[in-house]
Symmetry: C2
Subunit: 114 residues, 2 copies
Amino acid sequence: MTNHSATLDRAFQALADPTRRAILARLGSGPASVSRLAEPFTMAMPTLLQHIRVLEQGGLIGTEKVGRTRICALRPDALRETEGWLARQRAAWEGRLDRLDAYLLTMKDATDES
Amino acid sequence: MTNHSATLDRAFQALADPTRRAILARLGSGPASVSRLAEPFTMAMPTLLQHIRVLEQGGLIGTEKVGRTRICALRPDALRETEGWLARQRAAWEGRLDRLDAYLLTMKDATDES
DNA sequence: TGGTTACTAAGCCATATGACTAACCATTCC
DNA sequence: GGAATGGTTAGTCATATGGCTTAGTAACCA
């Protein structure tokens, strides 16, 4: 449906970096603080914080300040929209709308529960 | 499975631009020459060619020189891999592997036919 | 052969990105 | 209160990106 260019831009841009994808993967097992997220990486904190902001602006994660720590958590919605764009494209160029239908059912399921 | 960082980097990067997504959408209805793809845009040819190269390096399209024209066509494989990464993430953070299973079945279907 | 068409190459420019350091809040703990 | 912890701001730097122009080269057409 909607082809929110700017939103998709930021989402895909956010995904186009291994550090940020690793952060997302890490957040898959639950929310975490910034310093917790920084642990596996060798980079300086401000650098990592920048990545976190990119993810946030891409709508992929949400953050909240709790005391002196900032907690980061996934926001499935944007990912679902991103995935939806891909699925739509794929369905189009595979010339089989039935596959899209199947996918959209999955999406609907997931949305209903969120 | 595989988490080809560099490949995903380039694929997502290629998708992070509305011009390039428009090109992909256009190619959804069949292969086209560079100048054909350029028609809807106001930008100069070299600029558009650059976008095409980004798409090609991201594995999303393939091109072939035919006489003096270059024909561009979609390459569903990379998109499927990209979509797969997203689906895997979503499945993980939704804590429901059954949904991933359903998705992988779809993928398998599509691959069998390609 | 000579012109037009379709792409390519080279180089320039402005802005964005990803990294760093150093310094600065704002909690929390002793 | 003073120190440690967790994050943030500001500023620098190198490279990448996305746009342009100008000038080619390689088919095809008359």
